[in-house]
Point group: D2
Chain length 227, copies 4
């Protein structure tokens, strides 16, 4: 296990506000809050910013995706060995904006096991979370795509998605952690997610687009430690 | 025009020999030969190594691929703005190991024009080179996939592919440079490519897997200046 | 040349109104209007309805897409030889709802030439039409995706897309016919398209969802013959 | 449940020997053997031949793939409603030659449930079979891609793949049937597959390319009834 739970994972996506040097600034803000509060916070910058961030912060860094192919003649692919050497501890896979095939998910998870990288696998609905959990990632993150970026938090709007997801995964692969995401934008949303059984949340726009990164991260990280 | 022709472009692919710190070493070897010989040499490391290389060498650096989407909610995508901020001067697109759709090629080329990034677009056969040249990249690189990585150079084995490609592109988009690649492994192969009308070559395994990078790069770069 | 120009091509998409037996009824309505008016009308039903339609009407039938692979171990692929044997005269490729890669477009067009099948290749903007025209289809159809299904006809809303497309294709591949589509919903729209230099139109929802198929087809087909 | 087990499923792929009218002949041979022996045999012709076959045989017919999208503006897609109307009883999904994403598999299975279509979902290895079984298909078919078309039957060469697959699925989704395939070419191979716990086999080239279809199908179907 490369991550500590409950966890707040900040996905930088390809938001311009979190690209290049600003990716490092955002990661630094997350690191600061993590140190101050003791909360477990990980960041997922773009591939091109991965090394810059991983070399300069002490919180866990995840890649936003990966390809399954081993080293070789694979122009333009995202190599797990490169992710590892850049200093990241793992990868997010199957995000709704980068869905992958079942065989690819299985191969990435297998290769990550050998490379000692952790995998957070996304899923749209509880049954997909169950399916992908069977493949053996460290965690699954349930994110109903229709709520992503809306500010209507899954933990408020569709609490049954979280509880059903937790139950589904517990049944088929009890060792896999369950996170949730989509629309989560406040500490209150994080708190509810944890109450529903999630062991963490994925957040993107609510933090990346906040006027005050540190303040927003603190707001969302506090429920992880105050319990 | 961000590149000087004739040119030698070294594609690092996801070869483990050119991953992470070794990517920088290989780029440094290329830079040394470029300075010594005056030859135009560009390098294309993996996305994750892009900034590391671009920040530390003075020769042009290209990304191995890119996605067309603008900044935003696009987890795992390769953002052109990130490529630019990392210090690269452009991108290779549509490599046989990362083919893209026609509409994506058009959008990337359009966005690169606005971002002042250069595009080298790959094609399998002359008519594909003609088609993609119409979209307005700076250069097209014809690489018959069946020769890639074989050591049987396109300029020796299928010289008509190069000459037909040059003619095809000259007819439909005369301002677009024509490069070639696939199996190119020696200075002699590069020389023949130039004689056939190509204004440069793409090389990967012949250099990446050479025992002595500097020696091999020098061998392949010299024909670019000795004419 | 398997099609007669100017032409009206009716794309059935996967509309339920034009699925199964109703696909045949719609094709029959098109056939009736074609016979009565002398207009050139082709229909493009779903793959599963292709043979049913092709065996029962005397107007040209096109498949909505195809895969490039030759016969063999390709489960789930759409084989050009099967399209031909079912009685279709050709295929539409690269529709905005089924975009393909440049190499795939080239391979399909090459295989269609050998199989004596015709190709109508779609494109989003003039420069894409130029690019794909270089690959040698019989016709290209320019359809700005943002207008598809809106009832705001490309020939009214963006006439310059049609004229630029015609000019672009004339320049790089003058033997290729230029059609247009997207939002076209009346005879008046068809008339304008022809005036702008198009040699036909692609229509889908305006006809498929019309209350009276025959009447709507007649309205849109008449401008093809009354000139 | 639309299929009877144990079952022999014949996948026609895009083999030219089983295209068009020959698809119907092959299906007729399968029907004859099914009637004579009482064995449960299903056939999976190409999409374009689906209706021709389904309308003319009384054994179950499956489509070789499907798209998840509901009826609408989806040019070139394979609509489940069209599959149903053509007379097929279900679909094979996620074949190694047509892999799909996890979310697509889930959506297809969900839509098939509503349309009363059955789903046979393929998987490369036991853990993938487990994952996809969680999504609720009627059956999963484990086919190690490296054995497909080799004549080296999974049930002989990798019996542990079958037994592990059976165990894996039994654990996470006990109501889901487990089939196997890849390299299966004789009645003996089928027999062993059943002994290992599989409730049927998928066969393609061994039957499609046999000189005497009826004889080969009989050879492979007999173990299903002689037990």
């Amino acid at each position: 296990m490369k991550l500590r739970y409950p966890i707040l994972i900040i996905n930088f996506k390809t938001y311009i506000e979190a690209t290049g040097k600003r990716a490092l600034e955002l990661a630094k803000a997350a690191e600061k809050v993590a140190k101050e509060t003791g909360a477990s916070i990980a960041v997922a910058p773009q591939h091109i910013d991965l090394r810059l961030v991983a070399e300069n912060v002490e919180i866990p860094v995840l890649a936003q995706s990966a390809d399954p192919e081993p080293p070789g003649a694979h122009t333009g692919h995202i190599l797990l060995e490169a992710i590892k050497e850049a200093g990241a501890v793992g990868v997010i896979i199957n995000h709704s904006e980068k869905r992958i095939r079942i065989d690819q998910a299985r191969e990435i998870i297998e290769r990550c096991r050998n490379l000692d990288l952790t995998v957070v696998a996304c899923a749209a609905v509880p049954v997909e979370a169950g399916a992908i959990a069977v493949l053996g990632p460290e965690a699954v993150a349930i994110e109903p795509p229709e709520l992503i970026g809306t500010g209507r938090a899954v933990s408020r709007e569709k609490p049954e998605v979280v509880t059903n997801g937790v139950n589904m995964v517990r049944k088929v692969a009890p060792e896999v952690k369950v996170l949730c995401g989509a629309g989560v934008e406040s500490g209150e949303d994080v708190k509810r997610a944890l109450e529903l059984g999630a062991e963490g949340v994925l957040v993107a726009s609510a933090i990346v687009k906040a006027k005050n990164w540190e303040e927003k991260i603190r707001d969302m990280a506090l429920p992880l430690v105050k319990r």
